[in-house]
Symmetry: C2
């Protein structure tokens, strides 16, 4: 198992990336890492080079670079070289905390789509709260594609199912369609068509429409959505949770001595809450539908989060997440073509 | 000023509706109310009939009734009779806590669209948190239309502007377009087209794209969005906030004596937080684009919320919210037709 790491991506790169990989190495001594980056900048943070190889990449794709152009022009960048190594079979998976768009473009254009998949999608795991039976769910697509057709949602459902099985350990994942009401006839034309179609697919455990109000309660294990709505809901969840925590903090700070004392007594309770909301412990966002695991963590990720994400990649590789999808789409290519033709009528 | 009230709509109707109207009467003694409902059920809760007229409506539209069919068939329902009274000029505005779809249908089919407006939209006010300069913002459409064209978003911007000016008291409202990134070229094709168009409209203070992550921070005064995304974001904000509060409550309950003591000391702080999150104090959701104020409050609304909503209707009537929109669309009918033709090319 050999993982290509973009050592230059992220707000705290290369320091936190390198430190995260060292933690990951201590946890998973069997993994080999190739760190792509400017060696003179990366090397000072590398304390133990055991199982870690540095590969020189002269260029860096910045957070603000236009993704597709950057991939095409910066051929010697850490992202392009790492993706190329995965494409060539030298590495088995690709990790970065850098420019999301560039990572998606590298996944699509360099590593390449799985045969039969029209649109790879970006997926992320979010916490389920106040529910003893479920602690996380998957949402897909959260922003790889702004323009989405009902047929793409069907492919997301299949990919999400295999991811939930192989990485989240859910045997028979409940697949829900994010919609503006739970009744079968809800939604715009695209979601009505997607619902009707998903309801007829034998290979998934489709539980119907789910509303954004119920996501954190665990309405489904896999929530299928178009990338525009998924992105809006993901960012809204983050923003609302952060605003609430800030509101509590401000309330306590302005609440006088009694309030501050009360807060001190609640310290461990608040810590537990923040830990439950911290979905970086579940790893990063995954581009599903390409030929190898391509995983992105938050730009602001520190070493610990990066090490967790390596654990997620390990699970994908060990449990053959990608191979399962390849096999499904290969075995169902005729069905898929028929369904697509049917839905595009 | 005369307001038509659906006395039979809402989870606690007619009791809480009647009590809410009594509170509103005490606050605004100049308003006349017509309460539409089954008089034998409504009358027992009416303590003071001063300025309140009961109008018999034999039928009731239930929460689960299919909206358009209910409006067409239940001609003697409180919703249909109240809407008809507004259409006939007997009442000036329409309030209900009942079936949202039926209220929208009654607004569209009985009260009628303002000339020049293609799609009336549903708008709601949400709280801005942790921002001393702004305490609320408006989002539109939050679900009247599932299928939306870029041209509709332009009309939402105009309607939202007048509502923010006349009811929220914002002189020069900042209009933002909900999108999946702040850069001008972000979004799906529809949002790209809407952005380009809104950026060229002289009559609005367009501040560009806003992300759902920033809404509660006060990214804009009026957030324009298609009804599908707006509905998803509204419900997600509610769901995330509720889940967070529940998480805190559960954390405290399971946290032992110290935790419970701490919670007791923070009681007034938590109360302040819940009050800030409670957007029912700003009133209900408004169907903008029809010929009179049509306002819906939560089905679970109690008397106090209902009285607040009457205050909102009063502001709309006093400040000529609807008339402003009528005048704008009448004065700009040629421009509007040209813009529409241009955007539909």
């Amino acid at each position: 198992m050999r993982i290509a790491v973009d050592a230059m991506g992220g707000d705290y790169a290369p320091k936190e990336v390198v430190e995260g990989i060292q933690i990951a190495h201590d946890r998973y001594p069997e993994i080999e890492f190739d760190l792509y980056g400017q060696i003179d900048k990366v090397k000072p943070f590398l304390k133990n080079a055991d199982h870690i190889t540095l590969v020189q990449a002269d260029e860096v794709i910045a957070m603000e670079d236009e993704p597709v152009r950057a991939i095409r022009r910066k051929k010697q960048s850490s992202i392009v070289l790492a993706a190329q190594a995965v494409h060539d079979g030298k590495d088995d998976a690709f990790f970065s905390a850098g420019n999301t768009g560039a990572l998606l473009a590298a996944g699509l254009l360099i590593i390449g789509r799985i045969k039969g998949i029209d649109r790879p999608g970006l997926t992320t795991t979010l916490p389920v709260l106040n529910n003893p039976k479920q602690d996380q769910f998957l949402m897909m697509d959260v922003g790889a594609n702004a323009d989405t057709k009902p047929f793409n949602l069907y492919q997301y459902a299949i990919m999400g199912k295999y991811y939930a099985q192989t990485v989240m350990g859910v045997k028979n994942p409940r697949i829900g369609l994010l919609n503006n009401g739970t009744e079968a006839d809800k939604g715009d034309m695209a979601h009505k068509a997607a619902h009707e179609f998903l309801a007829g697919v034998r290979d998934i455990n489709f539980v119907g429409n789910v509303e954004s109000r119920e996501l954190l309660n665990g309405a489904a294990d896999v929530v299928v959505t178009d990338g525009f709505t998924g992105n809006a809901v993901l960012k809204n969840t983050e923003g609302t949770a952060l605003s609430m925590l800030k509101l509590i903090k401000n309330g306590i700070m302005n609440g006088g001595l009694t309030s501050k004392l009360g807060a001190a007594m609640l310290k461990s309770t608040f810590k537990g809450i923040q830990s439950q909301m911290d979905y970086s412990k579940h790893g990063g966002a995954v581009l599903l539908g390409v030929k190898a695991p391509v995983i992105k963590t938050h730009g602001s990720a520190k070493a610990e989060t990066i090490a967790n994400t390596i654990g997620q990649i390990k699970a994908m590789l060990e449990n053959h997440s990608v191979e399962n999808v390849v096999t499904y789409f290969s075995d169902h290519s005729e069905e898929m073509a028929e369904a697509k033709a049917e839905m595009q009528k």
